[in-house]
């Protein structure tokens, strides 16, 4: 779970997850364009690529190759232990 918190600690990475929530399955180019045009985050393509690597290693982003293209998808599974640990047991004693 440590990797998940580390991945979520960065605001750009959280914004990337927001954008994948708005539209799942984006290319690196589209994500970069959305970050700069919608959020004013002018990160370099290399920086966004590195952020995606961190999110992927935490399991929050999955990449799929479709033929010659590569798309990025959000995976919320690694967030479920957080819900179960602190929110799922509320009200129970």
């Amino acid at each position: 779970m440590g990797d998940v918190f580390k991945a979520l600690a960065d605001p750009t990475r959280r914004t990337i997850l927001d954008e994948l929530t708005n539209r799942d399955g984006q290319t690196l180019f589209e994500l970069c364009a959305r970050l700069v045009s919608i959020h004013g985050l002018a990160s370099s393509r290399q920086a966004v690529s590195q952020h995606l690597d961190v999110l992927e290693s935490a399991g929050l982003v999955e990449t799929r190759r479709e033929g010659r293209y590569k798309f990025h998808y959000i995976n919320t599974k690694p967030l479920e232990p957080i819900v179960e640990r602190w929110l799922g047991k509320r009200g129970q004693t």
């Binding site: 539209r23 984006q26 290319t27 690196l28 180019f29 589209e30 364009a33 959305r34 045009s37 919608i38 393509r45 010659r68 293209y69 590569k70 798309f71």
Partner: protein, 129 residues
Amino acid sequence: MRINLASVLVDDQEKALRFYTDVLGFVKKHDIPMGDARWLTVVSPEDPEGTELLLEPSGHPAAKPFKDALVADGIPWTMFAVADVHAEYERMRGLGVRFTQEPTDMGTVITAVFDDTCGNLIQIGQMKS
């Protein structure tokens, strides 16, 4: 000085000519035999004396890795202007064109990205008034 020519690297000139005319709606301007290849240009019917697009063979050994790397990251190297991105998206999808990015509002411009079937991604853009 003005820009009179821009190039796209295409894997097959004949296939490219069909796509750029039949699907995109450009018209052929020059078609001159040049040994193995042709000096093959198209223009927009909206601006037949305007900038020509050269359908340049991508036979140079550097071309394929360059194009493959751009496509993998979804990067369109070339952009065309359209009046209505959503309408073009629907029209072209009806013709079987594959889009890697749906029409998206980017603030001052609406863009979409499609595969030209010749090894390139192309962006279409509509400036918002």
